[in-house]
Symmetry: C2
Subunit: 435 residues, 2 copies
């Protein structure tokens, strides 16, 4: 990825940003509310702090691929899916333009709009909501995707003239065995993934993009995640999921460009309808509730048997360390395989799935508790793949029926998005789709 | 607060911890599930990392007052309220013993039980769930409280022989004007506040305490918070709430022991029924939803008028800097007060409330989005006070009917707890109540 953040995006925003649109939505009436509070007008108005060298990471927004995919997984997530509420293709494009500009600004530690939270006209709503004032960029990445329903609604209607360009792979995910999906936590026309090392920064990004979308798209669902579970870089230690086990040991890493090319990016020429998606990816999201109260009452032996790894080190039960390859043929007591036939590590391993690898980017979540007094908790699974028909659907079909771990899981949300390649300065995200 | 963490609590845990109880719940059957997996048994089992000097803060658990009140507010919160499900006073006391031991361990960066997540018997459930392996204590504090219903149920029943010791101030909070309370997010027999600088550590604490409570208490509701909004120490900068304004500028600070003594701790002798609570405090929790979409469409002038402070600096509209006292008498254009008569800063100021000050400890929250496509977001308000009858109820009665800010707020959860003083090593939290 390359970018010239210094040249962008302040100049482009001028005279074109949706600030006018936001104002228009409330109408002229609000102008009348402006009063000459001398004490308020006179004070200095701080802008969002510009990140400095040596501080928290700042990732370029523009580049060959969107940031937030192979970027080293940040600690916190706010993910949101949107339904487009306008029927105008022009308005949809203008939304993507405005989102692109705001995302380019916020990822560099600036406010969502050209004025920032406190420097605009006193009688107008601020073009940034302000809760990130003084916070650094905190490694913020903002990644956009398009759901199948953007191309063709459930009823088949082609709202935006995009049906002819719907990739063959971009279809609503099938119902898998054991799925208990909540419609209100699934699907969506558009999605935004905001990852940062500070949750206030990730929340600020989604909140401002939702504000900018007002009148054109409405939030359908959103999900916070507080602990990354999958390293996407060899520079990161493997984190733990809420089963207490290391998660993502075998994950694809950014330092393996051959693997990433083979398993993550959509190649050009594969699908004539999907040429616009070359250099992009598909994002599978699954909200996976864990029945942790049941899990917590299992013996350590059973927990390790189900996973196929030790809890302490994350080493395969066949021996070695975390990064040792499992020996699926090794037999133990009673001539039974040491790595059980229904162990998660066996069923999910690339060797047992035609070499398929995923770039996972999941987060732990706890959304309070249920009416039964249990934590509403689990893993918000995200995986970037070159084609969900080869890289997710067969694997999940197998896991959902055979994996011993599935006894402790319930999938409650599901979505698939096409994630276009990165934008160049002057473009909006997904511009090739509308060309 | 003093403590000798080195001497505690490993020795005390031996032979008394509820591990046996947890095992008992699953019965002897689980022992049969233990199998001799050579690879699993043989590997080294890491324990939870012991914090080292110079690393993230480690706060003593034992002391005169409970930690987590005047402790510099950590960045993340997991709060949980519980209903006691046993009718046995003995079982209730044993729960408080077990919680005390586990909390003393976890706050020092150790596992919840004596064996830790991976070092116990292989055929038994681990006495720690493991997701905090390798994470430091991260400033974890765990603070316990007792709700009015522990003393007397809604129907009046005295389940545990505690009714005679219910403090006069410990009554369910009244319904305030505009309240839209969700029963399932309100009240509770017991509460636990877990604060830490790492959300995974706070979640781990609540999850393990809920696990330990199995069969004796069940979670009633829980709340995650991701950004502290109130400094409790002069060493902290004032953070921002989701209105984008600095919150807690006037908060009581730990460095003001006279103010803390006067406004936070319960004095001895004030209420003969509450002698057991001397050195403790009352905790008010209010889940306050913000209608941020409406707020975001208000002009900056209106936002500042409603708060009575500038958004950038947090200075009173009457001039000066963040810590300048507001001049409520100053007149501006049209001889109107510069700090409006319904401005939040005016109505909440100690000078206009008989000198009452609160020790606030609130957190921002975002719990996904509503069916209307709006963020389910706001402030989880927490305040520690010497007496809610003088220090919260009159103030909130006024704010809920007169504060201009209340137009943008909806209170959806409410609870009051008595928070006993700190435990000495060898005691359990709240032991004086049961003496």
């Amino acid at each position: 990825m390359q970018a010239d953040p210094a040249a962008e995006p302040v100049k482009r925003a001028r005279g074109r940003f949706s600030r006018r649109r936001v104002l228009g939505a409330t109408g002229a009436g609000v102008a009348g509310a402006a009063v000459g509070l001398a004490g308020g007008i006179g004070v200095a108005r701080a802008s969002v702090t510009t990140p400095t060298a040596g501080g928290p990471p700042v990732y370029p927004f523009y580049g060959e691929h969107q940031a937030g995919i192979t970027t080293p997984a940040q600690d916190r997530l706010h993910f949101a899916a949107f339904d487009v509420t306008t029927s105008s293709r022009t308005e949809l494009v203008s939304l993507l333009e405005d989102w692109t500009e705001a995302a380019a600004r916020m990822t560099q530690g600036q406010g969502a709009g050209e004025y920032g939270p406190t420097s605009g006209p006193y009688d107008a709503p601020p073009d940034d909501t302000g809760e990130a004032i003084g916070l650094p960029a905190s490694g913020l990445t903002i990644t956009f995707g398009f759901g199948p329903s953007l191309f063709r609604e459930a009823g088949g209607r082609d709202r935006f003239g995009l049906a002819a360009r719907q990739p063959a792979a971009l279809r609503r995910l099938p119902q898998f065995p054991g799925d208990n999906l909540d419609e209100s936590r699934s699907d969506g026309d558009l999605c935004i993934q905001a990852c940062a090392d500070d949750p206030q920064v990730a929340v600020h990004a989604i909140r401002n993009l939702a504000r900018i979308a007002f009148g054109r798209a409405a939030m359908r669902w959103s999900q916070l995640g507080f602990g990354r579970t999958s390293s996407t870089s060899t520079s990161q230690v493997t984190a733990r999921n809420l089963f207490g086990f290391k998660d993502g040991t075998m994950n694809l890493k950014a330092e393996d460009p051959t693997g990433v090319d083979a398993h993550v990016w959509v190649p050009g020429g594969a699908d004539p309808k999907a040429d616009w998606l070359a250099g992009g990816s598909y994002l599978v999201t699954r909200r996976i509730n864990m029945t942790i109260e049941t899990w917590d009452r299992q013996p350590l032996s059973e927990q390790e048997r189900v996973i196929g790894r030790t809890k302490a080190e994350g080493a395969p039960l066949s021996g070695g360390g975390e990064y040792t390859q499992p020996d699926f043929a090794m037999l133990g007591a009673g001539d039974q395989p040491i790595v059980a036939t229904d162990a998660h590590v066996r069923l999910a391993h690339p060797d047992n799935n035609g070499g398929v690898e995923l770039l996972r980017r999941g987060y732990n979540f706890v959304d309070g508790s249920t009416s039964l007094g249990r934590l509403d908790a689990g893993l918000f699974f995200m995986a970037y793949v070159t084609d969900p028909r080869t890289h997710y659907i067969p694997l999940q079909t197998k896991l959902s029926s055979k994996d011993g771990l599935s006894e402790y899981l319930q999938h409650t949300g599901s979505a698939l998005f096409a994630v276009p390649s990165g934008a160049k300065p002057g473009e909006h995200v997904g511009q090739a789709l509308f060309a």
